[in-house]
């Protein structure tokens, strides 16, 4: 299972919006008006995919409005990623800013053999991890074994979650539940979970970014998933927290 729903156009606010109509002549948010009637933040993934290489090519040529369209498209997802890794708003903001700045200055190195977003995620994850290590150098090391990493997690008290959790909670409430659960996860488990399951990176890519072995990624992903299940269980089991 891998998250494959990340290729969305993002919102239309900000720098790119202010610079609309500038040099590129590229389509910006095609069909947006019709799509906004159901969801203001998503455009069909095929549209995002189709023009992304044009935007990247234009940005490589120095077209700032094209680059800003890319920023506008991915700002929310990149901020979510840096927040998920650092769990500190100031660090997350700095990491996001530096990730976009670095991606622009290194755009010539982007070979186009992966999606621009995937490349951007690698840069942003590195920026976030750097800040996480800096802020808490004595609390943990991402590349060392985590206490409990090799313990078996055997849930003893299992109860069915009943009706679909999405039907029982509103979007805002669900967001808070997920945010609390991931916040409580140990950074070593959290980082691997975020890169693999939220961002959809491969095990090998995740290992490379975090600086641990593929086996350690798999082990931490398993523990991270099991621990998150336990945390969500508090809310989703019948008669759980409300």
């Amino acid at each position: 299972m891998q998250c494959a729903t990340f290729m969305t156009g993002e919102n239309g606010k900000g720098f790119a919006g202010r610079m609309a109509g500038a040099a590129t002549g590229l389509p910006t948010r095609p069909h947006r008006d019709t799509f906004m009637s159901t969801n203001p933040h998503r455009i069909p993934s095929t549209v995002a995919k189709e023009d992304e290489h044009l935007l990247v090519a234009a940005a490589k040529g120095g077209d700032l409005s094209a680059f800003n369209e890319l920023v506008s498209r991915y700002e929310r997802k990149i901020f979510r990623l840096t927040m998920n890794i650092t769990r500190n708003r100031e660090d997350a903001e700095d990491a996001m800013q530096d990730a976009f700045l670095k991606s622009y200055s290194h755009l010539k190195d982007f070979a186009g053999d992966s999606r621009f977003y995937t490349w951007l995620v690698r840069i942003a994850a590195n920026e976030a991890l750097m800040r996480l290590r800096k802020r808490r150098p004595n609390q943990f090391s991402l590349d060392e074994p985590i206490p409990g990493e090799n313990e078996e997690l055997i849930p003893r008290d299992i109860e069915d979650w009943g009706p679909s959790p999405e039907q029982r909670y509103g979007q805002t409430e669900m967001h808070e539940i997920l945010s609390t659960a991931i916040d409580e996860l140990e950074p070593g488990f959290r980082t691997v979970f975020v890169l693999r399951d939220v961002e959809g990176l491969s095990t090998e890519e995740t290992a490379k970014i975090v600086g641990i072995s593929v086996a350690a990624v798999k082990s931490r992903l398993l523990r991270g998933r099991l621990r998150l299940r336990e945390k969500l269980d508090r809310y989703f089991r019948r008669g759980g927290l409300h």
Partner: protein
């Protein structure tokens, strides 16, 4: 395969990164163990919920600072 074996293989199973024979053992155990079936379903659901969650809008102050920084630094390159 016993319950502990299932726990160890849950991730590989839901990622489809599992040998055919291990998968068979895994599924055979699930057929007779409601406990493990529920755990596997809930782990799958957990991944799905995080996967499907839409990121929230950037706070206005964060967005303003991002575009100000880009405007200043990118134009100076």
């Amino acid at each position: 395969m016993n319950c502990n074996g299932v726990r160890r293989e849950i991730s590989n199973y839901i990622d489809g990164d599992i040998d055919a024979t291990v998968r068979l053992d895994f599924e055979l155990h699930l057929q007779g163990c409601r406990h493990c079936t529920v755990v596997v379903d809930q782990v799958k659901k957990t991944v799905e919920l995080f996967c499907d969650a839409e990121p929230v809008d950037l706070p206005n102050d964060v967005r303003s600072r991002l575009y100000e920084a880009l405007e200043i630094k990118l134009r100076s390159l």
